[in-house]
């Protein structure tokens, strides 16, 4: 599938923003969120900023962005519509949570409840994003059970790393958050490796034989394409990535998204406290870059059944 930059930025940025929002909500419920207005402005600003930038980016690939509001209407059948509704609805508790924390200076009672509702909205939106891809049967590399856990784990991982980075700037650190990072990073890494293992080892359900129905007569291969130049289908769904590049990019993604952030978080515990923000911010930035590469691969490595009509023997 064509890796559209706007969609890669959207899923990575809003994924991190929703992850951060979810951690803030959970921490508010647990009563561990300091009633510090500066921290509120920085963390909620970063979270809602990343979410908003992501959502705006996602409208860039639309043919008619001015009609984007129509996408709220078909939540009964469409995961994309559900994602739109969920993302818009999450702003309501998130802004009330911000009102409590930033303006009133409280993260307990009713304001913690808004935090909890923000967390629920954040998780629901990431679930919708994952299901947009997981529900597409023509793309077997998306239509499998590894996609949802990957999206959730990567969102939780980037969210907790950004929260640690913000806290470190305020000279605050939370042992439980460090522990959460130490759990999230290997879990997300494990799920990503399992996803890659799955797509490498699983043969697609459809092949050129079933796509044409001629498989019973022998091996089916394209003799002549219908047109001499590329069409929309080939541009959008015929994207191919060289195997050797994919292998290298997977290693780069593994190092950047999981290995370095884990190492930097560990280093942060051992070095003087003044240097902690450096490590924490580096971990969050590098992890986000790693997830961007991972997301690029998620699209670039996905194969669509329409390629079976254009010379691919398997999709």
């Amino acid at each position: 599938m064509h890796p559209a930059l706007s969609v890669i930025v959207f899923t990575t940025s809003s994924g991190a923003g929703y992850g951060l929002l979810a951690w803030l909500g959970v921490w508010a419920v647990a009563g561990w969120l300091p009633a510090n207005r500066g921290l509120a402005a920085a963390s909620l600003g970063l979270s809602l900023g990343a979410i908003t930038v992501g959502l705006l980016s996602s409208t860039l690939h639309l043919g008619h962005p001015e009609r984007a509001w129509r996408a709220f209407s078909q939540w009964r059948s469409s995961w994309l519509s559900r994602e739109g509704v969920s993302s818009a609805a999450t702003y309501v508790p998130a802004l009330l949570f911000a009102l409590g924390w930033l303006v009133i200076g409280s993260t307990s009672g009713i304001w913690a409840l808004f935090g909890a509702l923000s967390a629920v909205g954040a998780v629901a939106t990431v679930v919708c994003t994952a299901f947009i891809y997981q529900s597409l049967k023509p793309i077997q590399r998306w239509s499998n059970g590894w996609v949802l856990p990957n999206y959730l784990a990567l969102s939780a991982m980037t969210g907790v790393l950004w929260l640690i980075a913000v806290l470190s700037l305020f000279g605050m650190m939370d042992d439980y958050l460090i522990l959460a990072a130490f759990l999230c990073i290997p879990l997300a890494g494990f799920l990503k490796v399992r996803y890659w293992r799955f797509i490498d080892r699983t043969a697609s359900l459809s092949d050129a034989g079933t796509a044409t129905g001629l498989g019973a007569l022998g091996r089916v291969r394209l003799f002549e394409a219908p047109h001499t130049s590329e069409n929309y289908l080939m541009k959008e769904m015929g994207f191919r990535i060289a195997r050797k590049h994919a292998a290298k990019l997977r290693i780069i993604a593994l190092v950047a998204a999981f290995f370095l952030p884990q190492l930097l978080t560990l280093t942060g515990l051992l070095i003087p406290e003044a240097l902690l923000p450096l490590c924490a911010i580096a971990a969050a930035v590098i992890a986000t870059i790693g997830v961007l590469i991972e997301r690029w691969l998620f699209f670039a490595e996905a194969k669509h059944t329409v390629t079976l009509y254009y010379g691919a023997e398997r999709a």
Binding site: S73, R76, K137, T212, L214, G218, R219, F223, Y232, T305
Partner: protein, 248 residues
């Protein structure tokens, strides 16, 4: 509404395409382009039509495949267009309600005024039936020539999709596949019509008829297997004399 019709009627209009007969002339694709360039889905934008890298919207594409090996190998021309599925995920994924399936005849259409151009429907279609119009910013697809098949100003014989009326080999048939007694349903039964990628569960309405078994012996048209001698043995006359002379 992008939910599928709650009470679809029995009528399911669609095509039956005979892969045994198709000669791969692309007339169906060209006439489709011509009709729909002036129809409800118009324009079918072409970008750089005379340039080095033209890019255009077509609802019908004719691929040619090689099947089998060696002497058993054969060439099969394969026209590909929207199959107007009974379970069209292209419709249910649409976030705006632009894509819909008609309850009355099962035709899958796009309301271009509601389309935001997110392209998700084209990802959801396994068959590549939908093509995005980069110029108009909306998704376009086969309408089964809805502006032709119901057009009462046309004579009745012309009320079939453009691809069907133009096919010089009669490889394309149009009718109601929801009616077991219709000509297309009978043809499908007689010839073993099949679905494309049934494993994905889209339940396409359009059916394809497989190529007939290859003939391995010449058909007996009444001629004898050996040529009769030009001059029957034992005959006399001028021809027999020439025969004897030349044989000597």
């Amino acid at each position: 509404m992008t939910s599928l019709p709650a009470h679809p009627q029995a009528k399911r209009l669609g095509l039956v395409i005979d892969l045994d007969i198709c000669v791969g002339c692309h007339a169906c694709a060209v006439n489709c382009k011509q009709w729909n360039s002036g129809g409800v889905a118009a324009p079918l934008t072409d970008l750089e039509p005379y340039g080095a890298d033209p890019l255009g919207v077509w609802f019908n594409r004719v691929h040619t495949f090689e099947v089998g090996e060696g002497e058993a190998g054969r060439t099969v021309h394969f026209p590909r267009s929207c199959l107007h599925c009974a379970e069209p995920a292209c419709v249910t994924v649409c976030p705006t309600g632009a894509s819909y399936k008609r309850a009355e005849d099962g035709i899958v259409l796009v309301n271009e005024d509601l389309c935001i151009g997110c392209k998700l429907c084209s990802w959801a279609c396994p068959y590549g039936a939908r093509e995005y119009d980069y110029d108009a910013g909306v998704m376009k697809k086969c309408t089964l020539c809805i502006d032709k098949i119901y057009n009462e100003t046309l004579e009745e014989a012309s009320r079939v999709p453009a691809c069907v009326s133009t096919c010089p080999a009669s490889a394309r048939h149009f009718g109601d596949l929801g009616d077991p007694g219709s000509a297309v349903s009978q043809l499908m039964r007689e010839r073993g019509g099949y679905d494309l990628m049934p494993e994905l569960g889209y339940a396409p309405t359009n059916k394809y008829l497989p190529p007939r078994p290859r003939r391995t012996v010449a058909k007996d048209v009444g001629a004898s297997a050996e040529l009769a001698p030009a001059v029957p043995a034992g005959s006399g006359g001028f021809l027999a004399w020439v025969d004897r002379l030349l044989s000597g």
